[in-house]
Amino acid sequence: MILEMTASALLTYGALASQGNSDTARFIAEQLQSGRHHLQDSQVLGLYGKGVLNDLFQVYEECLTPNWDGYGALPVSETAYILAQQFLDALPLGMPPPSFGAEPDGHLTMEWHHSVRRTISVSVSPEGELHYAAILGSNKAYGTEVFYGEAPKKIVDLIYEVIPS
């Protein structure tokens, strides 16, 4: 069987969890994942090519010890770090890189920021929840999405509203 996967298909969709259990479904999922990783390394399309993994790791290292913020912050857990990596991996290709940070409750944050009235912050909790809040001019949006390996459409759409592609 020949499977053709175009870059455009990989650009259009984020990471897709396989819905099937057959050998073919698994093979397709593996090939898609492999193709996405390859493109994520690209300096043009990929977040990895833009050095985001190094930035994320730096924040994780800085926030490993309790009280890293001077006000009694909880340490960032390895689980939150791994989930943050997986969330990055699941984002559509071509997405602008976020800036990373941490919150005193031990969540890692990713921020896409255009101005103080056009900004979105996503917190990755060790429990696998993505808490987000966005300001879009006079409008606001906030909520929680559970992370199952795919980037939630609601969050992706908000990021593109903050930073149009």
Binding site: E62, D69, Y71, S99, G101, P104, S121, K140
Partner: protein
């Protein structure tokens, strides 16, 4: 609100300072990330009232806080108590030994996304943070 809370209440026209002890709370342009205003692990957010203090006196308090916990003082985010009030938060005076102007911002909603939304509004109201004098960082 109890009588005690009323007595300790901070008026809406007061300015409050949040000392920044973690550099990544600041963006490159010195605006402040909302991360700096998330109240965990306690239900309160610790701030210092400006009241009649001169700028140098405020920085002195920040330096004392930073020294006590061996952190660098990077800057200070000033915002109005009215911004907290707009989001149904309470600002309550809570003097401590080294900081008689200390206050807590309380009554935060329990859910994280709502906290983030309020923290974003506070951060937006700050504009740019003040950079700590070079002898304090």
């Amino acid at each position: 609100m109890t009588d005690e809370e009323t007595a300790n209440s901070v008026s809406s026209d007061e300015l409050l300072a949040r000392f920044i002890l973690y550099k990544r709370y600041l963006r490159q342009d010195w605006t402040v990330k909302p991360d700096a205003f998330i109240p965990h692990p306690w239900p309160d957010l610790s701030v210092t009232r400006h009241l009649q203090l001169h700028d140098a006196e405020l920085w002195m308090i920040g330096r004392t806080v930073a020294r006590q916990i061996a952190k660098a003082l990077h800057g200070r985010a000033d915002f109005s108590a009215a911004v907290a009030r707009q989001h149904k938060l309470l600002v309550v005076a809570a003097p401590v030994l080294d900081n008689p102007n200390h206050a807590n911002i309380t009554n935060w909603p329990p859910d994280k996304p709502a906290q983030k939304a309020i923290a974003q509004e506070i951060a937006a109201s700050v504009g740019k943070a003040r950079k700590a004098p070079s002898d304090m960082s």
